[in-house]
C-alpha cells in the first residue's frame, strides 16, 4: 500500500513538473515535428496541409473590438526554399519548404513590423517598432545578424509618450538593394497627429546608405512602399488621417528616383465628402516592370496610373452614405496590379462617427474583391462579406488568395480560413479552413506552397476558438 502511494506521489510530481516545463518552454519546443499535429480536415482539393506550428500564446481577438489585435507576418523567399514568420511575441522563425524549423531568433524589446527577403534569398530583412526602430539584416543560411541600423538616429524617439520609430514597409530589388520606410507618429497639443518619416536605401553590406530626403524628415505618414524590379522607381503612399495644419509632403502618392534623389512625380488624390484627405493603406502596388501602379484609397476610390504618373482611369467603388446622422462606407485596403488586371479589396464598413464602433448596417461593397481590366472595365465583384473580414490579399500565379478573419455580423467561426479565387472571375476554387480567424497568408512565387497564419478568437460565450499558429500547405 505504501509502495503504491509512493509510486502515485512520484508519478504525480514528475507529471506536474513536466507539464509546467512543457508549458514554460512551449515557444522553443513547438517547432519540432513530434509536437506538431496536422489536421488533414483543413486540406482542400488543390492544396494539402503538411505542417501546423504553434506560435505561442497571444491575446485573442474578440467580436467587441474593431482594432487589429494579433499581428503576424509571413513571407516566402524568392527561391521558394524558405518561409519566414514574424510573430507578435517577437519571434523570427525560418522554415524550410517542408516546414522544418531552420532557426529561430527573438527580437527582444521590439515588435516585428515588416519582413522581406533579398531577391537572391540570402538575406532576411526584419523591421521593428521600438525605441531604436531597427532594421535587421539576417543571414538566411545561418540566422546570424549581418548588420542592424537604428532609424531613431533620424526620427528620434519620445520615451515618455512611447512614440517610437517603426519600420512600416521593406522592399528589395534585383541589384541587391533594400529600401525601407520608417515613421514615428506623435501628436500635437490638440491631439492631432504629427508624423516624421524617412526612406532608406542600403546595400547588402549595410555600409552604403542613402536617405530620402537626405537631410530632413518628411512630415507625412508613409503607409506603404513599392519598388520595381530594378529599383529605378520607388513608389510610396501616405495616410494622414487627422491633419490639423498644412504639411510640406501633402500628396497621397509619390514616385521617387533614389539614385538622383528626385521626386519623379506626386499625385494628390481627391477625397470624397465627408473625408478631407485621401489615405492609402497596404498599397499602392507597382508592377514589377514599373509600368503600372494601382491605388485604392480609404474612401474606396480605385486608381490605375502609368509608371510616369499619368492617371489611366479612376473608379468610385463605394460611396459614403449618411445613415442615422453618421457616415458609413466600405474601406479600400488592398490593391494589386498584373499585366492584365487590377484587383482591389475592401474591408469592413467604416463608422465615420467612431471608427472603433461597428455600423448598424453593412455597406454592400464591404469585404469585396473587385477585378478590373486594363481599360478600367469592371469584370467581377465578389462579395466575401458572408465569409468574414478580408485580412490580406495576395495575387500570385493568376490566382487571388485572401485571408478571411472574423465575421462580425454572423459571428460564425465556420468561414475562417484561406480562400483561393481564380482570375478574372474571382470564383472560389479552394477553401482552406482554419479554426480561428486567418490573419495572414503567403504564397510562393510558383504557387506550389501556401502558408497561413491563424489567431485565437474569443466568442461571445467566452469560448476561445483557434490558436496562434502557422499552417503550411503544398499543392497536390
Amino acid at each position: 500500500m505504501k509502495r503504491i502511494g509512493n509510486i502515485i506521489i512520484t508519478t504525480l510530481f514528475i507529471l506536474t513538473i513536466l507539464t509546467i516545463g512543457k508549458y514554460v518552454f512551449k515557444d522553443y519546443i513547438r517547432s519540432y515535428s513530434f509536437f506538431s499535429n496536422v489536421s488533414m480536415a483543413s486540406s482542400g482539393a488543390v492544396y494539402h496541409k503538411i505542417k501546423e506550428v504553434s506560435l505561442g500564446s497571444v491575446k485573442p481577438y474578440t467580436y467587441q473590438s474593431y482594432t487589429f489585435l494579433v499581428e503576424g507576418l509571413l513571407k516566402f523567399s524568392p527561391d521558394q526554399k524558405c518561409l519566414a514568420v514574424g510573430t507578435e511575441n517577437g519571434d523570427i522563425l525560418l522554415f524550410d519548404e517542408q516546414g522544418k524549423l531552420l532557426w529561430q531568433k527573438k527580437i527582444g524589446l521590439g515588435e516585428i513590423s515588416a519582413l522581406e527577403f533579398s531577391k537572391d534569398s540570402q538575406i532576411l530583412y526584419v523591421g521593428e517598432s521600438s525605441q531604436d526602430g531597427n532594421l535587421y539584416a539576417v543571414e538566411v543560411v545561418t540566422g546570424e545578424e549581418r548588420y542592424q541600423y537604428s532609424t531613431s538616429n533620424e526620427l528620434g524617439a519620445n520615451l515618455s509618450e512611447k512614440e517610437f520609430p517603426k519600420i512600416l514597409s521593406i522592399v528589395t530589388d534585383e541589384k541587391g538593394y533594400v529600401y525601407f520606410a520608417s515613421q514615428r507618429k506623435g501628436s500635437y497639443a490638440d491631439h492631432t497627429d504629427k508624423y516624421s518619416s524617412r526612406l532608406y536605401k542600403f546595400d547588402e553590406t549595410g555600409k552604403n546608405k542613402k536617405y530620402f530626403p537626405q537631410t530632413e524628415n518628411m512630415d507625412t505618414s508613409i503607409s506603404w512602399l513599392e519598388s520595381d524590379r530594378e529599383g529605378k522607381k520607388i513608389v510610396f503612399g501616405t495616410s494622414n488621417w487627422r491633419l490639423s495644419r498644412p504639411i510640406q509632403w501633402d500628396k497621397t502618392i509619390y514616385c521617387i528616383d533614389f539614385t538622383s534623389d528626385n521626386v519623379l512625380w506626386g499625385q494628390t488624390l481627391a477625397a470624397r465628402p465627408p473625408y478631407q484627405n485621401a489615405t492609402l493603406r497596404n498599397n499602392p502596388n507597382l508592377s514589377e516592370d514599373g509600368k503600372y501602379i494601382t491605388a485604392f484609397t480609404g474612401d474606396c476610390t480605385a486608381y490605375l496610373f502609368s509608371g510616369e504618373g499619368k492617371l489611366l482611369w479612376r473608379r468610385a467603388v463605394s460611396q459614403p452614405q449618411k445613415i442615422n446622422g453618421v457616415y458609413i462606407n466600405a474601406v479600400g485596403l488592398y490593391s494589386k496590379v498584373t499585366e492584365e488586371y487590377s484587383i482591389f479589396a475592401t474591408t469592413n464598413t467604416h463608422n465615420r462617427g467612431n471608427w472603433r464602433l461597428f455600423t448598424p448596417i453593412e455597406d454592400p461593397n464591404s469585404n469585396s474583391i473587385f477585378v478590373f481590366d486594363a481599360a478600367g472595365k469592371l469584370l467581377k465583384r465578389s462579395q466575401m462579406g458572408e465569409m468574414g473580414m478580408i485580412e490580406q490579399l495576395i495575387v500570385e500565379n493568376k490566382q487571388i488568395v485572401i485571408a478571411i478573419g472574423r465575421n462580425l455580423k454572423t459571428k460564425s467561426p465556420e468561414q475562417h480560413g484561406v480562400y483561393i479565387l481564380d482570375l478574372p472571375q474571382a470564383n472560389i476554387i479552394e477553401k482552406l479552413k482554419t479554426a480561428g480567424p486567418c490573419i495572414g497568408v503567403a504564397v510562393s512565387r510558383d504557387g506550389q506552397k501556401l502558408a497561413a497564419l491563424e489567431a485565437p478568437l474569443q466568442l461571445d460565450n467566452g469560448e476561445i476558438v483557434g490558436e496562434y499558429k502557422m499552417h503550411l500547405f503544398n499543392k497536390k
Binding site: T10, I20, K59, K106, L109, Q131, L159, K162, E463, I464
Partner: protein
C-alpha cells in the same frame, strides 16, 4: 502520513556529499541570494530553470527517498493549491472557461457569485507563481537537511547577530521536529484509548482534543528548556566555540553571488526606467533584449 514522516524530517543528517561539505555561511548567503533572485525574476523560463537547479541540488545531496517524498508532497501541495485558487479566482483578461462549477442560475449561491468557473489561464498563471514558493521551499529544506543547527547558530554569531536572537531562532527551528514528535505521541495515546482523531467526523472536538495536549506538552518543554539554560548561565559573557575558518574560495563565491544580485537589481531598475519612459540607453539594447526574455 506526512506528520509521521516528518518526525525526523527537519533534522540534519550527516553526509559526505559536496553539498554537506559546503560551509554553513556559504549556504546561508546562497539561499539568501537565490531567494532574492526568485523575487526579481518574472520570466517563467528562468523560474523553471531555477526550480530545476534547486531540485538538482537535492540530488547532489543524495537525499533519502523519505525526504524526497516529503519534498514532493510539499511542492505538489504548493503547486496545486496555487493552481486551484488561481483557476477559480483568476481576474485577468482574457480567460477561457474550462468548466462551470456553479451556474449563475443556481439558487442563492448563483446570483451571489455570478457563477463559479475554472479558467485555463488561471491554471497556467497559478502553476508559474507556485514555482517561486517551490524554489524557496526546496532550498530551505536543503539547508535544513544538510546543515547542523549548531553550525547555523555559530554562523549567525559570526555575523554579529545578538546571541539571544540567534539562540531563539535556532531553538525555534530545533523545536519543529520536537513538535512533530509530540504530535505523534498524542495521536498514539489517543488511539490507545480507542479514539481515532484522524477518522472522526467531529472535527472541532478532535482538533481541540489533539491540539491542547500538544500545546501543553510544548509549553512544559519550553519551561524546562528555559530553566535549563538559565541554570547554565544563559546570557553571561563567556567564551564561545569558534567556527572553523571560512574557506577563501567559498567566501569569494559568496561575494560574487552578492555582486551578481546587486547587478541584477540594478539592471532590473534600468529596465523599469526604460519601461516607464524615463531613460533608455541605445548602446545597451542587447541587455534590454536579454532582460525582456529572461528576467
Amino acid at each position: 502520513m506526512l506528520i509521521i514522516a516528518g518526525y525526523h524530517a527537519f533534522e540534519a543528517v550527516p553526509g559526505n556529499t559536496f553539498i554537506h561539505k559546503i560551509d554553513i555561511r556559504t549556504k546561508i548567503v546562497a539561499l539568501l541570494c537565490l531567494t532574492i533572485l526568485t523575487i526579481l525574476i518574472d520570466s517563467p523560463m528562468s523560474l523553471f530553470l531555477l526550480f530545476c537547479i534547486a531540485l538538482s541540488l537535492h540530488f547532489m545531496a543524495r537525499e533519502s527517498f523519505v525526504r524526497w517524498r516529503i519534498l514532493m508532497i510539499l511542492i505538489l501541495l504548493s503547486i496545486w493549491s496555487s493552481v486551484s485558487t488561481q483557476a477559480l479566482f483568476y481576474n485577468q483578461e482574457p480567460k477561457t472557461m474550462l468548466a462551470c462549477l456553479v451556474l449563475p442560475a443556481t439558487p442563492i449561491i448563483g446570483p451571489l457569485t455570478e457563477g463559479v468557473y475554472i479558467y485555463q489561464e488561471g491554471i497556467e498563471y497559478g502553476a508559474i507563481q507556485a514555482l517561486r514558493g517551490s524554489i524557496v521551499l526546496a532550498l530551505g529544506l536543503l539547508l535544513s537537511w544538510t546543515s547542523d543547527p549548531r553550525q547555523l547558530l555559530k554562523s549567525l554569531l559570526f555575523w554579529k547577530i545578538p546571541y539571544q536572537i540567534a539562540f531563539m531562532l535556532i531553538t525555534g527551528l530545533r523545536f519543529l521536529p520536537i513538535v512533530f514528535s509530540e504530535t505523534v505521541i498524542v495521536l498514539t495515546a489517543q488511539r490507545l484509548r480507542g479514539f481515532e482523531p484522524l477518522k472522526t467526523i467531529h472535527v472541532l472536538k478532535a482538533t481541540s482534543q489533539t491540539l491542547l495536549p500538544i500545546l501543553a506538552r510544548s509549553l512544559r518543554r519550553a519551561e524546562i528548556l528555559a530553566a535549563s539554560i538559565e541554570s547554565r548561565g544563559f546570557g553571561r559573557d563567556t567564551h564561545q566555540v569558534q567556527l572553523i575558518p571560512w574557506k577563501t574560495g567559498e567566501k569569494y563565491c559568496c561575494y560574487l553571488l552578492l555582486v551578481m544580485i546587486v547587478l541584477l537589481i540594478g539592471l532590473k531598475g534600468i529596465n523599469a526606467l526604460q519601461f516607464i519612459g524615463v531613460t533608455y540607453i541605445p548602446a545597451w539594447r542587447k541587455i534590454y533584449d536579454i532582460l525582456k526574455i529572461w528576467l
